[in-house]
Amino acid sequence: MIQLENLSKIYPRGKAFVTVLSDVSFCVKKGDLALILGKSGSGKTTLLNCIGGLDLPQKGSVNCFGIRVDKLSGRKRNNFRRQQLGFVFQSGNLITSLSARRNIEFPLILNNYSSARIRDRVAFLLNRLDLEDVAEAMPSSLSRGQAQRVAFARGVAHGPGLLLADEPTASLDTRTGLELTSLMNALSKEEKITMIVATHDKEIIPFADLILHLSDGRIKGEE
């Protein structure tokens, strides 16, 4: 379970302070897909950063599978991200120097998986996400949809408990976006990966188990 309580994040801007998140609280069950809907600047990315331990809140707590992420030391937060977390960023954000296969392998090698397990897992993901034909392709030669699928495969390769996706469909057309969301949802459910997706793409709503409306750093509604 992912549980956030009274999470607040304030950024200094010049001499003033800007409240980006204010008393955000919600709870996502294991294996569920939570959707954070909100306009640009509503605090979605900051919220994901705080959940993933990329940023620290000034107030409140982030509890992921019984671990207080906000209380972890830098090294432990690194380990937490390495083992328990997967990220899918907007526009893929693959490592451009590595082929699709190598991108997917990366978190597995990082987590010291055996060669055999890496081979099997990568083969499974390439097959499952229909990426076999582009396995050896470099990111620059992939279509946006393929790049996002590779990014998703990389995000879930090491079997994390939580996948954070920031605008994963923003750079895709509606049909490709829906295909990707459908694949992400199906695979996450199969592998019981909790997903938190920040988006303003309302096409994804049918896949969500929980919908949170974020506006000016506050949760305005929960469905």
């Binding site: 940023d55 991200r81 977390l85 120097s97 590595l98 978190p107």
Partner: protein, 385 residues
């Protein structure tokens, strides 16, 4: 830590950005190749200065006041190329009622011609012939007593007088030789002193201190043997100065190149900083990120060093075959009195110092990009990138 992962990733980063990698490698290898050649050239200059200074007359080891009981053959060790025996006799030279005191050095002309450059410094007449009653005068003495080749002069040694034919006049450019020495062959009837001087020419690469120890160990009375480094402190200092200048040059050139590379590499890293941010987001630690960046710099440096050293060696080899003639700039320099043909010499230092210094500087060059990536939060890098 999975080192092979970082190594493979570093290689991939460099290969994908092959244009930048090539330019940086070219810069480093060009600097290293140039420095390998410059150090080899400096070695060659030092060699020729030593060769000129010792080969002219004194040899690499000089012996003075050696007893006649010690024969030149006894000094012929495996590392010795030649031992030239000389007898220095205080004498008076008389020509047309003009007198001049000097040291007459009785020599074996054939051996001298075979091993020293002295005979090349004759400016009028010819060199001495074995066993003849001949004399070779220095220019100053010849002018003072008004003598020219073909004249006959009197050489007075103690109570003995010898008629000697002037066959040549020499000028070496070395004060100690040009002021108060004259040469004659050892001839029949010449009364020799009880001691002799030795000019010992050793084989290339011989360590002079070990050579001297070898002489001492063999039980010979060789207290009078001294290496050229003691006899020519001016040359020793010049060579040390040469070394210092070259080392400073190595540091300056590589320092400047490294600064350029650091800037270029920082741009190289900044242009893909978002990827480093993603790696950090995936749980890659700051240390691992630093290692990844350093590995890229080290790999580039290793490849560039190998190419640079090879290019430097090839240049040294190609110039080393014909030599580089510096005689236009050294005609009035006594350290180049016999020859100014420089043969660049590759030494272990010449091949190792530039890559080693470059490797040291490459870590300095990596420090800035590492700091750029490690000092920022992953989320800031991603959002700014």
């Amino acid at each position: 830590m999975n080192f092979s992962l970082w190594l493979k990733t570093a290689v991939a980063f460099l290969v994908v950005n092959r244009r930048t990698t090539f330019i940086l490698c070219f810069l480093i290898s060009f600097a290293i190749g140039t420095l390998v050649f410059i150090i080899s050239l400096a070695n060659g200059i030092s060699d020729i200065m030593i060769t000129n200074s010792t080969g002219m007359y004194s040899g690499q080891i000089s012996g003075s006041n050696l007893p006649l009981s010690l024969r030149p053959e006894q000094l012929k060790k495996p590392f010795v190329k030649a031992v030239l025996q000389r007898f220095q006799i205080p004498s008076m030279i008389i020509h047309q009622e003009r007198e001049r005191p000097l040291d007459l050095v009785a020599i074996y002309p054939d051996q001298e011609k075979a091993h020293s450059f002295f005979y090349k410094k004759i400016i009028a007449g010819r060199f001495l012939v074995k066993g003849q009653k001949e004399i070779l005068l220095n220019l100053e003495t010849a002018e003072r007593i008004g003598s020219r080749p073909g004249d006959t002069i009197i050489g007075q040694i103690g109570e003995h007088q010898y008629e000697l034919k002037v066959v040549g006049i020499f000028q070496t450019g070395v004060d100690s030789l040009d002021r108060a020495l004259a040469f004659c062959p050892v001839f029949e009837g010449l009364i020799l002193p009880e001691t002799w001087q030795a000019a010992i020419f050793v084989k290339r690469g011989t360590d002079l201190s070990s050579a001297l120890s070898d002489f001492s160990r063999s039980g010979l009375k060789v207290d009078g043997l001294k290496p050229w480094t003691q006899l020519m402190p001016d040359l020793t200092q010049l060579l040390e100065l040469n070394d210092i200048c070259v080392n400073i040059l190595v540091f300056i050139v590589l320092g400047v190149v490294s600064l350029g590379c650091a800037g270029a590499f920082a741009i190289f890293v900044v242009s893909r900083i978002k990827e480093y941010g993603i790696l950090r987001a995936m749980g890659v630690t700051g240390l691992e990120t630093g290692i990844l960046i350093c590995l890229q710099v080290v790999l580039m440096n290793v490849v560039a060093s190998a190419v640079g050293v090879l290019a430097g060696m090839l240049t040294v080899w190609s110039f080393g075959r014909a030599g580089i003639d510096l005689s236009v700039w050294t005609s009035h320099n006594r350290y180049f009195a016999a020859t100014a043909l420089i043969f660049p010499r590759l030494s272990i230092g010449a091949a190792a110092i530039p890559p080693a210094v470059s490797l040291g500087f490459c870590f300095v060059a990596a420090a800035w990009p590492v700091w750029l990536v490690v000092s920022q939060k992953a989320c800031d890098i991603i959002s700014k990138g």
